[in-house]
Subunit: 105 residues, 2 copies
Amino acid sequence: MKKRPTKLCHRFFINLANPTRLAAIEQLMDKPMSVNELAAVLGQEQSMVSHNLKPLLQCNLITIQRQGKKHIYAVNQETLNPIFATIQTHAQKYCPAGGKCLKGE
Amino acid sequence: MKKRPTKLCHRFFINLANPTRLAAIEQLMDKPMSVNELAAVLGQEQSMVSHNLKPLLQCNLITIQRQGKKHIYAVNQETLNPIFATIQTHAQKYCPAGGKCLKGE
DNA sequence: ACTTCATATGAAAGAATGCTCATATAAAGA
DNA sequence: TCTTTATATGAGCATTCTTTCATATGAAGT
């Protein structure tokens, strides 16, 4: 923990700070999927899903595997599992009412 | 990891996806500080620091302790240490050139 | 009560993001 | 090569976020 987190982390968090991308990750955690499959599950346009997968892929938060025409995306569990586990612990402690922040909203 | 990460995590990441707030966290990791002290270290205005500390406090990513006029802020290490440790591991693997993303700026 | 120091808050301008629509690329089959 | 299917890309609008400036609150000392 001596490394300066600032620059290193900014893009990382930017990527995760978006409901669409989080929803995509959530679905991909259940199982790897193609873009259209993901779009269907999320109820959103293909182009939007594609746009949002791009930065996630660039930061290696998800991986891609091409099967002919289809591109199968999967989450980088090694990184994302511990992150979400930590947040869940945090939430259990500070956000008792099912994900609602203690202080306001 | 059965909990849906989406809604729970969004605000959490929004908070961290900001250079000013990350810089503040970075400084507070070294030592707890007052707002003015932090503003001085960061080279930024007091009001800006104050504005940015507010959401971090609301999400319990930092804590506050009032000493008379001064408000001493400190990081929630229990949550932030494992998060930053995970990111650092991720970065070591995928961002070899000192925090630079593999796949283009 | 008044002054000073420390922090918080409000509003508004500017910048950055996200989403949508249209279109481009790319692979596979006829 | 033409068509179809799957995904990616680009531009523009709308929205949200960030920052700044001005001001308010609040605590402590005189």
